[in-house]
């Protein structure tokens, strides 16, 4: 079985700062992988590399059997054209810490925009699915609201619906609840939990240890650009092997 995400010694540097120092891990289909670690550990950067928002400098990264950003022919790598990169991204949904909803469009328009413009779906079909998706995330009555009129938790749920509208095979979550008021976190996590139960492959960068423990199939602790510990959430949380993991968990638990 091909892994959904396969990273082999992935390196990334910004100028002279090396942010990822050789990440090797794999995510199987239907797996929910949670990534934790102190800020600046490179976990968000790694997530952004998966859909090529950042270009990796060394190593290999595959999504569903395809190299990210390159095509291999003979023994040479060819950079993908913008259009090819865009086509790959359609298959990967991404949810951002700051939601990044399009403020000039209603919730429903946010959800239908990409299916109509990018995939060329009919408006009726896209609207029908938008209605179902907004219903799934509990916002059927907010279809005509603009992002400004929604709470942070509601905006993030619209953002999840927007990503799902492209029917991705992989969902990336970049600290989806970090910008939310505490009482709004639960609604977003509930939607993500439902998504996991439905068999979506997910990589979730998060600080929500409860979610990682209950929903995650695997837990990765990253620090200073490397994977320090990788295992089942139960093992990593209950019995961390490394001192760095222990001291981080002591702070967040």
């Amino acid at each position: 079985m091909t892994a959904m995400v396969e990273a082999n010694s992935v390196h990334k540097r910004f100028g002279r700062l090396e942010v990822l120092k050789g990440i090797t891990l794999s995510v199987q289909p239907r797996e929910v992988m949670c990534v934790i670690g102190p800020s600046g550990s490179g976990k968000s950067t790694f997530l952004r590399c998966i859909n090529h928002l950042e270009k990796i400098d060394a190593g290999e990264l595959w999504v569903d059997g395809d190299l990210v950003g390159y095509r291999e022919r003979g023994n040479r790598l060819y950079e993908l054209r913008d259009r090819e990169v865009a086509r790959k991204r359609q298959e990967i949904g991404m949810v951002f810490q700051r939601f990044n909803l399009f403020p000039h469009m209603t919730a429903a328009q946010n959800v239908t925009e990409a299916p109509i413009r990018v995939k060329g779906e009919s408006k009726a079909q896209a609207r029908e699915r938008a209605r179902n998706l907004l219903d799934q995330v509990g916002l059927a009555d907010k279809a005509n609201a603009y992002p400004r009129e929604l709470s942070g938790g509601q905006q993030q749920r619209v953002a999840i619906a927007r990503a799902l509208a492209m029917q991705p095979k992989l969902m990336l979550f970049d600290e989806p609840t970090s910008a939310l008021d505490p009482e709004l976190v639960g609604d977003v996590l509930a939607v993500m939990r439902k998504l996991a139960e439905d068999g979506m492959t997910m990589v979730v960068v998060t600080h929500e240890m409860g979610f990682a423990r209950e929903v995650g199939d695997s837990l990765v602790f990253m620090d200073d650009g490397v994977v320090v510990e990788h295992g089942t959430p139960r093992d990593v949380i209950a019995d961390p092997q490394h001192q760095r993991t222990k001291s981080f968990l002591a702070k967040v638990l």
């Binding site: 859909n51 928002l53 913008d82 259009r83 865009a86 086509r87 790959k88 991204r89 359609q90 990967i92 949904g93 991404m94 951002f96 700051r98 990044n100 909803l101 399009f102 403020p103 000039h104 469009m105 209603t106 925009e113 990409a114 413009r117 990018v118 603009y146 992002p147 400004r148 953002a159 927007r162 990503a163 492209m166």
Partner: protein
Amino acid sequence: MATSESSAESSAPVRTGADAEQIVAVPVRHPGRWVAAVIILLLAAMFVHGLVTNPAWQWNIVGQFLFDPQILSGLLVTIELTVLAMVIGVILGVIIAVMRLSPNPVLSGVAWVYTWFFRGTPVLVQIVFWSFIGLLYRFPSLGIPFGPSFVYFDANVLIPVFVGATLGLGLNEAAYMSEIIRAGILSVDPGQTEAAEALGMSRLMVLRRIVLPQAMRVIIPPTGNETISMLKTSSLVTIVALHDLFGVAQFIYGNNFKQIPLLVVASLWYLVLTSLLSIGQYYIERRYSRGTLRVSRTNFFGLRRQGAGA
């Protein structure tokens, strides 16, 4: 949501304003305001009195020429020049702004040089220059660069004075518009581009569907300024003997020596046009402020339309 909250509040046993005593206080007096108002009203009365009683204004002649066919045809030329120059300015301005932001150093360099050149020379010089372009390229032709040509044009036929003046105004305007549009594009949160690209949108689609509509809020007010400014700058074309509104007024008072009344006629028409543009700008701004906090629900004069909500 707000209504449900407030109704929840009123049902709770909270101390509300009903049992507090209404404040009765002597308001602060502002004698300075009264003095200023009296002085200004006095000056205004003197000015109006002068307008009415000074015979040199020659209001009867103003009335006579206000709807003169020549003046109206000049008005039409002014409107055409303004519209065409702004259309060139906006379209070319978008292209140059996008080029300037391009990662391709050749494109961004060319855009920079364009802006440098057209902002660096006076628009009056450019208008005259374009009218004399025929001296520089007598017979422009289409063909293979440095090779044979297939079609020849006569520059004097290809670029008559009106086209020359329009190009002069439009190309100059494009340099200014490109900076306005670039500022607008840069004002949009980069997270918007990222989110759109993560959905698989192409760069052009991101620009057209996501970035530009949001940039419009920043772009429109200075563009309104530019349009109003262009309306008046277009009067410079009288230098190449084009009969726009001001040109016609000059032409008429050159014959009948009624300078003041004809300048008043031209000014009145310029005022009418700028007023119309201001109103148009207000409604365009409102259109592009969808989804933002400061959406005005009133019309241009700040009056609430009937039935426009609470």
